[in-house]
């Protein structure tokens, strides 16, 4: 636990010691609120709900989360610090978990800083706080899912740009599997049970439940197991690739 903590603290601190953290947070806040007010026309709708705010999260995370996570292992491998890390008396999982949770918490902090949106909607009307809470939870889990995918691709390449592009493509695919347009398209030539099974694997499908105010255990299990699976794959990749 102490080793996990040491890696976690170091990692989190390194975000805030470089300008990356501030650039990310500013862009994230501008993009989420910008989309809410200008694209979703939050004021004009005259409805006290944060739905027009949360609806953008998957699409913003699609680029922003890989941007946060791309350096996680790429940089360690490129600069050779991975050799330092894995000759210190810590296990692979302690290092892996420390890095992942630090990055996740960092995205969580950015997400938390959107709280003025909640204040705004509370000031303007009387929103359903249950839905807001479940939406935030869903958004945080979705970010974790994207991040675990990014972690995996980050371990695969020493080049951050390649890690970023592969992560975006993979996250996009995982998102699109559940988007209406795509499932309709699949329905045309696949039996319904199959296209539904495919969309059940999508981040999007499971994210939507939270937006409706449902904290379904199946959705929780989905995100937790996706993260677990991706991190396990990440461990395998690292084990094989760390010395290259």
């Amino acid at each position: 636990m102490r080793n996990f903590k040491a890696v976690f603290k170091r990692e989190l601190k390194s975000y805030f010691e470089s300008p990356v953290a501030y650039v990310f947070i500013v862009i994230f806040l501008l993009a989420t609120t910008g989309c809410t007010f200008f694209l979703s026309r939050f004021y004009e709708n005259r409805i006290a709900t944060l739905e027009p705010f949360f609806v953008w999260h998957p699409w913003l995370y699609l680029f922003l989360v890989p941007a946060v996570g791309m350096r996680l292992w790429s940089e360690e491998r490129k600069s050779g610090t991975i050799e330092l890390l894995f000759t210190l008396p810590i296990t692979l999982w302690q290092a892996l978990a420390g890095k992942f949770f630090a990055a996740w918490l960092f995205v969580g902090i950015a997400l938390f800083l959107t709280f003025p949106m909640v204040l705004t909607v509370a000031y303007l009307g009387s929103p359903d706080y249950g839905i807001i809470f479940s939406s935030y939870l869903g958004s945080f889990l979705l970010a974790g899912g994207f991040l675990s995918v990014t972690c995996l691709f980050s371990a695969m390449s020493k080049n951050q740009v390649i890690s970023f592009v592969l992560s975006v493509v993979a996250c996009f695919a995982a998102l699109m599997l559940g988007v209406g347009v795509f499932t309709d398209f699949l329905n045309r030539f696949l039996p319904v049970w199959l296209s539904e099974a495919i969309s059940a694997f999508s981040f999007f499908t499971h994210y939507q439940g939270f937006q409706r105010g449902l904290v379904d255990s199946r959705d929780l299990v989905y995100f937790v197991s996706i993260i677990g699976f991706m991190l396990a794959a990440n461990a395998l990749v690292l084990e094989r690739k760390k010395a290259e």
Binding site: N3, V7, T87, I90
Partner: protein
């Protein structure tokens, strides 16, 4: 003790390390010598548990690096090649991180870091970002990180690479000081370094150990070893060569240089002894009898460069 047995590592068809065995005891400073790509770093990566061997075993202080990697790592201080460190951190934070992972807490952790910054002369850059430091300082940060837990075993991959002569000297002094109570393996391709600090040297070529011994032993394998270089003034070359060849145990005499310098004829010859014999005394008395004017008399210790070259190029030293 670090014990390496029948260790091999293959990358595809390439045998980077090919069945090597050796062991290193406390108090020894072992120098790993070899051309680039000979397998020095690969071997070190296996000893430090970073790279799993294809076959063979390594134990560090009795702990197998595959079975009990954490136990082994806890006892090792490792300076990887080109001393990587988290460049976006400052020196102090980085060392605090290293100390924490090495199991130090609170007061002790702070004291360790302060002390190691003192030892490695890092105090004046404690709060500078590592990225902004010169190569020499970065190397010292790497050292500090490797020494912070006062490990029994030190593995240093090219510790003086890229340093200026003063810094090299500093690092060598540090290693020599540490070497008295530790077990150190360092790799280098600088031969003078091996002569300066190592108690033992292993030469690796194409993944195999081609020589293992003290620097003196290795040097004595040089063709030059025990040869005498003479500088004579105003002596006829032919007479000298013929005379010197008859000295006891002399194998052959070679003229190195013959020409007038400052109005006098200067003759330089090299005399090679028969295998295992010393010719210094006989040569000296021979010259004394002839009453030649001697300007130089050198018994060659042998050239490690030559041995190194011969062994790693597939040629044979004596």
């Amino acid at each position: 003790m670090i014990s390496v047995q029948s260790l091999s590592r293959h990358f595809g068809n390439i045998k980077a390390v090919d069945n090597i065995s050796f062991s290193v005891d406390k108090g020894e400073i072992l120098g790993f010598l070899g051309p680039n790509g000979a397998g020095k770093s690969t071997t070190m990566k296996m000893i430090t548990t970073f790279l799993p061997p294809t076959s063979g075993t390594v134990t560090v202080g009795g702990f197998d690096v595959i079975e009990q990697p954490l136990e082994a790592r806890a006892r090792i201080g490792y300076l990887p090649e080109s001393s990587p460190s988290y460049r976006d951190m400052n020196v102090f934070d980085f060392l605090m991180f290293a100390a924490e992972v090495r199991g130090f807490d609170g007061e002790e952790r702070l004291n360790r870091v302060k002390q190691i910054m003192e030892t490695c002369n890092l105090k004046e850059v404690a709060y500078q970002q590592i990225d902004t430091l010169s190569k020499g300082y970065r190397q010292r940060v790497g050292f500090a990180q490797a020494f912070i837990h006062d490990p029994e075993y030190l593995i240093l991959d090219e510790p003086t690479d890229g340093l200026d002569p003063n810094q090299k000297q500093e690092v060598r002094n540090l290693i020599r000081k540490m070497g008295q109570e530790k077990c150190i393996i360092l790799s280098t391709h600088i031969l003078e370094e091996v002569e300066a600090i190592c108690t033992r040297a292993i030469i690796i070529g194409e993944g195999k150990i081609v020589a293992d011994g003290s620097p003196e032993e290795l040097r004595s394998r040089s063709k030059q070893h025990g040869a005498i270089t003479l500088e004579l003034i105003g002596v006829d070359a032919k007479e000298a060569l013929n005379g010197l060849e008859k000295v006891q145990f002399v194998d052959r005499v070679v003229e190195v240089e013959n020409g007038p310098t400052a109005g006098q004829n200067r003759l330089r010859v090299r005399m090679f002894p028969m295998s295992g014999k010393s010719i210094a005394h006989e040569t000296a008395s021979f010259i004394h009898q002839r009453n030649w004017q001697v300007d130089g008399f050198t018994v060659e210790k042998g050239d490690l460069n030559e041995v190194f070259y011969a062994l790693t190029k597939g040629g044979a030293a004596r």
